[in-house]
Amino acid sequence: MKKFNKVVSAVMASAMVVSMLAGCTDAASTDTPDAKTDTAQQTNNSSDSGATFKIGAIGPLTGGAAAYGNAVCNAAELAVDEINAAGGINGYQIEYNKEDDEHNAEKSVNAYNTLKDWGMQILVGPTTSTPSIAVSEYTKADNMFQLTPSGSAVDCVKYDNVFRVCFSDPNQGIASAQYIADKKLATKVGVIYDSSDVYSNGIYQKFAEEAKSKNLEIVSAEAFTQDNNTDFSVQLQKAKDAGADLVFLPIYYKDASLILTQANTMGYTPTFFGVDGMDGILTVDNFDTKLAEGVMLLTPFAADATDDLTVNFVKNYQDKYGEVPNQFAADAYDAVYILKQALEAKNVTPDMSISDICEAVKGAMVEIEAAGLTSSKMTWDASGEPNKEPKAVVIKEGAYVSAE
């Protein structure tokens, strides 16, 4: 009897593993049509031709970085809906799907594979740098065109099939140092950066190099980590004690809003200078925008700009998602329109293979000149790096004003 039990348990165990694996493949394959009909209903209501472009987006939709991923995926969806309503690309509708990567390179590759099973032809994403680099290994192998809206690390675009919309990190660090030196905003600079974050480190490294050659003195460079981002009193106190008259914050608005609040309660009022990650600070729910008075930042996008494109985008985004879009959203929205322009330039049709589409779009990217939310004139070279001018803005009375 005991022996019989053993045999049964062995059989049961192996049966379970088999059924599980079979179940997985089943689930994966049944999942796909489901997702298809779902998105088809959302985005594909006026299509009568069978073929559609399939664009996928990846970003952290849960976890600590979810705010960025949601902004990217929502804005891309908005752009797709608008394009579909206006007749699609080259007369073809777009299907859109998004996947969560939890800001994790490994999960991002899983998300990419899921989208590939769904039939994705072009990838808009991933939202963050490390996942973006990891996924680019795979898009390169599949020769799929990848346009990352906000993957800003240098290595994100190391392959020829990857382009980006945002500035690269070194680019921002250099531009910030140049701007501060050229405008003589300060001679003694304090830096507070996130040493656990790729974005923040990348900017800080180049900023420090450039500052040296521009004779800016960095009097304090203090780090924090994502595990230790509640108390900034030390970093601020050190900048204050070192006599910094400008504090450079190459970080995201989440932490920046906390730094501004704490500086205020300390009674420390230097000029704060941020980069594009700082955009969004004015729309933090319940944030006292008086605290941000006089903050300067280099950003390609301002949600309260008055040009028609921005006004419409902000209005539609708010109507649909109930939030004011930030720079991430703007980059993603631009990304979809840039793709549209590139696809139209080469008359690409959805029945072409992924690799052919990639080659065509790659060719188009270096030729087109795009106008969008983040710049009125963007061009690319074959490296995948955008050429656009960062705009310096200063916050006055709760709104961005051009700093020129």
């Binding site: 949601n70 108390d231 030390v234 932490d255 809003s257 319940n286």
Partner: protein
Amino acid sequence: MSFLTYLINGLSLGSIYAIIALGYTMVYGIAKMLNFAHGDFIMVGCYIIFSVSGAIGGGSTMGVILSVILSVVLCSLLGITTEFIAYRPLRGAASPLAVLITAIGVSYLLENVALLIFGADVKSFSSVITWQGLSFADGQLRIQGVTIVTIVVSLVILICLQLFINKTKQGQAMLAVAEDKGAATLMGINVNKTIMLTFAIGSALAAVAGALLCSAYPNLSPYVGAMPGIKAFVAAVLGGIGSIPGAMIGGLVLGIVEILSKTYISSQLSDAIVFGILVIVLIVKPTGILGKVIQEKV
């Protein structure tokens, strides 16, 4: 002078850790479980205050008091419910790890519910303490209102808890349950009710800690409680887990060490230093600063 400023900042951070650690240590001492979801109760408490004061128009003193009271009450109820649904069925399980994993499940659950309701974007929390604080030596040395309130509140809670445990019947029952569940049952103590009460108090403390944490560091997101929760756990262990004065001391030590190591050693490596000190303390004193040494018998 700047050393004093750093020290005060450390005290402020430390007393917040201390309040969270008090909740941790109570639950551990009596229910013998590491409640990893404790940090997320802080988050729930913050969101309750945020929503209530937003709904009734924040700023007014009445509104603030009402929202804090409501947050404390709702958090206690949540604590009791969680204990009843998720932890109680696992009491007496073959391994104490079972309930630890469930607590992690509860932590994920609370974070994801908050993510769905409030969204991922960070919200700025209006401080429940509007007092500006004190200023000494021509503004060279400033002590913020929230710092003073936090330190006072943590001391009041410490004294109340000590009195409650040592002077009341319920408190004595808790001690008995902590000592030996079986014997406590034989003496006519309702173990389930006692543990429930512990969770109610622990969660209420989390709500208070949340109000103070978000007043001092006004950023609110679904993950706001996770790291302070872990730090407070470290503080509780540092002080000797299960010991109430130990949690207080552990919290203060941790806060001060964190701030001073950031100041004088390296802001990049401050986490490593804090954890390093924990390791050293535990090697020298394996049951924490005030922990009891229990002799093992065969």
